[in-house]
Amino acid sequence: MSTMTPVSPSTPSPDELSRQLSGASISLRRRIANRTSSGLMVLAFLLAAVPLAVMGVQVFSQGLAVVTDVAWWTEPIPADVGRADLANNEQLNDLGFGTSGTEEEPNSSASDIVLGMQPAIVGTLLTVLGASAMAIPLGIMGAVYLNEYGKKNRLASFIRFMADVMTGVPSVIMGVFIYSIWVVNFGVDGKSAFAASLALACLMLPIIVRSTEEMLRLVPDHLREASSALGTRTWKTTLSVVLPAALPGITSGTLLAVARAAGETAPVVFTIGFVTQTNWSFTGQNTSLSAQIYSQFVNGGSLATQLAWGAAVTLVGIVLVLTLTARFITRHFSVT
């Protein structure tokens, strides 16, 4: 609700009131304090917005050239750009940061190398798809329980509370969890797009539960009552009346969760392994854009750094499209 809404149509808005009242009758000291506070608020916004804008420009200027080449989307990741251990499965060595650019380029001349990122793009899509396939239905059903069945009972309140708490659990913990339960048991072979999906699904689940529940709450009760009055069972009412009514909101909340998952690095790095060739399967080692940004950064060298910037642009692009679509949907299709 807009805070600026007038109390009644005839009352001027607080904003207007304050403008009228900050006239000459107000002492200089009070006026200065007021102006200063307003200036500081604008400054606060600029302190967040300017770095964001600068970062956007710098990231895109670094990575755009690589990304606009078709080869980026169709070719495997060049394996010989950095150190020899790039091709190694366990690429995350005890690294000293800042070693970039110290080593010689390998024998193959730099101009021969085609900068491709298809494996990581495919890997990111697969993991996010897998995580969505698990977390979205379960999250929505969980929300249905909270809003349609549990409502205010103790179990529902507890689940609601713990879901909120779970959204605050660091993503790296989800990675440690899946690593402990999956990779430790199945060894290196257990590292796969599926394992990474599991970690991301854990991350997405509470976000989807809570955002969907908020949306279900906005569905007016008379829709449910009308449906019940026609003799419809609760399950059918939920599926054919309540969920469709809340669909725009659910979609946008879900997209935000998907965007968050797509950008995550920590849970993916432990669980996905490493490849340089495209792997369309959920089994077997894979790679993702975020994991590539990190490992190429660690590899160092100008080509690897170019790969990292390119992957960053691709990832930011994907995440931005998801986020802005979510915002567009909320703005134009929201209920209430």
Partner: protein, 327 residues
């Protein structure tokens, strides 16, 4: 078939959907599926606690006190004392919070008390986008574009205070990667969450109180101080704690900017290390005790963030979180 409404009280009362007939089974099944999905949140949380603790158990039992109270974390020598990492996590989060909270509250006030509709929508979009940028991109950008200027700025400041005792211990010379660098970038990253929660808190301030203060002749700032802040202290505490929880768990950006040297030091311009960053760097290739020690770090982090989040949620006034466009 009569369409005219019948005047029986039973039909006016809420329909009894438990009567036997077609669909009762489906209703029950649907209910149990929903219940199961809801309970999954609890199951996952419980599993995280159990599985990670079990994997970390060797570190807890074999190392005992030297694990929780040890001041050296040198994996190559088998030294696993988590205190330097806990310290690093706390220090970096503290720096981030100190920088981020005033900015976030400023933005939240700007959005709720000052900006007009269009500006408000723009500001919220900017904050959304800031929240969407992946952590690893912050890290990459920070490493290449912020570390060099930070280094010169830190060294300049370090020179400035080099004559003052105590202060010069806090602000030593810098190689760029440091607690402070990680903390500053982290501040930018947690600003969205603190802003969003603060804004929700400010939105719960009754409109009449605002109008009343203004009607009595208060300037906008006086209204904010006299009405908005007193009404929001609890909620803002919650917002800060949620930000703190977020900051403590933030991994990749910190890993790229902090320098990877576990150190118990108050020198904020020096290199350091945090718990999530240490896990992130090493878990993939760690074995045996080292792996257990790293997973143990995860357990500690889990317990810490859960505790912070629980207290934050208890404190914060959770209002209708309508993630609508420009509500």
């Amino acid at each position: 078939m009569t369409i005219a409404p019948e005047r029986e009280p039973e039909t006016i009362a809420l329909p009894d959907l438990t009567v036997p007939g077609r669909g009762t089974r489906a209703d029950k099944i649907f209910r149990y599926i929903a219940l199961g999905a809801g309970a999954l949140v609890l199951v996952v949380l419980l599993l995280i606690a159990i599985v990670t603790t079990q994997r970390a158990w060797p570190a807890f039992t074999e190392l005992g006190f030297s694990y929780f109270l040890g001041t050296e974390w040198i994996p190559s020598e088998g030294e696993f004392g988590i205190l330097p990492l806990v310290w690093g996590t706390v220090l970096v989060s503290f720096i981030a919070i100190v920088i981020s909270v005033p900015i976030s509250i400023g933005i939240a006030l700007f959005v709720t008390e000052m900006a007009h509709r269009k500006v408000r929508s723009f500001v919220i979009t900017v904050i959304d986008v800031l929240a969407a940028v992946p952590s690893v991109v912050f890290g990459l950008w920070g490493f290449f574009y912020l570390i060099p200027p930070f280094q010169s700025a830190f060294n300049w400041f370090s020179d400035l205070v080099s004559g003052i005792p105590v202060i010069n211990a806090i602000f030593g010379t810098s190689t760029g990667s440091s607690f402070a660098s990680a903390g500053i970038v982290l501040a930018l990253m947690i600003t969205p969450i603190v802003t969003v929660v603060s804004r929700e808190v400010f939105l719960t301030v009754p409109e009449n109180d605002r109008a009343g203060a203004l009607a009595l002749g208060a300037t906008r700032w006086e209204m904010i101080r006299g009405v908005v802040f007193p009404h929001s202290t609890g909620g803002l505490t919650g917002a800060v704690m949620l930000g703190l929880g977020r900051a403590m768990g933030e991994t990749v950006a910190v890993a790229l900017l902090i320098g990877a040297v576990p150190r118990l030091s108050i020198d904020v311009f020096g290199v350091g290390e945090t718990m999530p960053a240490q896990i992130f760097r090493n878990l993939s290739e760690a074995d045996d005790l080292f792996r257990a020690a790293l997973i143990g770090l995860g357990v500690c982090l889990f317990v810490l963030t859960i505790a912070i989040n629980i207290s934050a949620r208890k404190v914060v006034v959770l209002v209708d979180r309508r993630s609508r466009g420009d509500a």
